[in-house]
Symmetry: C2
Subunit: 316 residues, 2 copies
């Protein structure tokens, strides 16, 4: 039986992957409150936005301001998404700790969504790396490989192509690589097989798993990934966001459900789940009318769990 | 890495564990239609009801009739739940293939719910076994250990107590034993640890895992159980039922979501998922106003999956 890690990181991507599919623009003050509360609840890695043109995604137009705010919180590791060199340059200026460049392993999805082939994205990462090194910025570069388990446009995506893209991203100078199940095609066996090989290629530079709960398998997929030694997972509060191609479908892995699963496995995340559930209530009020997800919030923490957590806190 | 089984069984318990928590009584004709459609979709093990006094559970008053109908379907393995010897005698008469006697490993839950201690349930199983052997009936006896991962009344439930109950059930003459997470306290690591030990005690007589999705972990728990070699899981169409102590909480593992996960792992269940989704639509109409669960029905099967299934069917 595989040995589990003792610690894991839940990277909160609700402010980017979550909000980008929500039409009503959340005011910057509320986003700051969200970041502050998530930090107070123990979250230490947050993707706060995306450096894309504001006219394309008005929801994320305040990303630079949010990076600046997030960087005032000691020990918070702040990441952003960027589609290209131009976005990366804004990320360097903002002082973000990490920028994620999405690449789609499905050629059809890549062309439809990014208007580039996967290899053109790799070339862009090489340019971003050169610009980073020239600028002296310390921002880490992560290449995130999406549609890694299948695609709504192309259908099957070959595992060899995913791994080829990963190697190419590393060769182009990505400091980190990660894998995403963009449209909810992944199952736990496929995750285990692909992540095992990815770890063999990228070692500790294989950074993060990103699972959508489109068909209910996000947490099973995280569990399978944990068995391969991966210890960082994207998730969104209340599971917001997810699959724009399947309206109404369950969204991302819900941060609070993931935190509960990890706690039950004695894997330390530093997250205070009760505090996260209170933040969820607040964000749910802000996003009234939007479809939220997750299961824990309905049932609440088991009483025995709450007592356990309280006594653990007393011994600190 | 553990090796996965090539086949698994989804035991449909929606007509019992699902319907028992739904107030509007589903007419017998619709239950027959449900059983017939589930059978047509490839399901080969169905728990059709419970032999409890009709005044306590009017929803399940037609269990004998449903067993008789289900037994007309060739190769369908028909099970029922019974609380005691009296119910077991009705099960023998009905011709059910298996009866499940619930035992609660939490003493507090056992007294509150069954009005017996765990050891009194074990003694009842011994009487049921003696009656079965005397009657010449062929009905298998399964002892189902509930609240095996914790309990809303008692809190923690010791693993040693669960395993002690399991051994006692086997000693009392249970042909099969199974483990249930009655209130959604289980996580995948706990499942793996407990199921590993249970398999060591009961071998092939360890028959089935039963997971509620109260806190979103049902499928992750099934995945962990598969790694221990367990190949039979209770589930309910649309995830109905589940935790009566947490109203609104996500219910049982949803049969259709579980079938999708297993298919994605190349584990054969014999289930036609598209047919199961059509049955779900029908049952959802019948149960209008009730809380249903599951994720797959919203997003549907991935197109590539449907094409794969269609080409697989052509090669048969």
């Amino acid at each position: 039986m595989p040995v589990f890690p003792t610690e894991a990181v839940i990277r909160e991507v609700g402010l980017r992957d979550g909000l980008q599919s929500i039409r009503q623009v959340l005011p910057t003050s509320r986003k700051r409150e969200w970041i502050g509360d998530a930090y107070a609840a123990g979250q230490r890695e947050i993707e706060v936005g995306s450096f894309v043109p504001a006219r394309l995604l008005p929801q994320l137009a305040d990303t630079a301001e949010l990076v600046a705010f997030a960087k005032t919180l000691p020990g918070l590791f702040v990441s952003v998404l960027v589609p290209n060199l131009k976005g990366a340059e804004r990320a360097f200026e903002s002082g973000a700790d990490l920028l994620l460049v999405p690449l789609s392993a499905s050629h059809a999805h890549s062309l439809a969504n990014l208007r580039k082939t996967p290899d053109e994205v790799v070339a862009e990462v090489a340019r971003i790396r050169a610009a980073r090194d020239a600028s002296g910025a310390k921002t880490l570069i992560e290449g995130g490989i999406g549609t890694a388990f299948g695609c709504t446009i192309q259908g099957r995506v070959d595992r060899t192509e995913v791994l080829r893209c990963m190697q190419a991203l590393l060769d182009a100078g990505a400091d980190r690589v990660s894998i995403a199940d963009t449209v909810g095609h992944a199952g736990p066996r496929a995750v285990r097989d692909l992540f095992d090989e990815a770890r063999r290629i990228a070692g500790e530079r294989f950074w993060c798993g990103h699972f959508h709960d489109t068909r209910g398998l996000a947490l099973a997929n995280v569990y399978a990934a944990l068995e391969t030694g991966v210890t960082r997972f994207d998730a969104t509060l209340a599971g917001i966001g997810g699959c724009p191609h399947a309206p109404g479908a369950s969204g991302n892995a819900a941060s609070e459900d993931l935190a509960f699963m990890l706690a039950g496995m004695d894997i330390e995340t530093g997250v205070d789940i009760a505090a996260l559930l209170r933040l969820r209530e607040k964000v749910a009020r802000w996003l009234e009318g939007e479809t939220l997800h997750g299961a824990l919030w309905r049932a609440g923490l088991p009483e025995s769990f709450a007592r356990h957590a309280a006594s653990a806190a007393l011994t600190v």
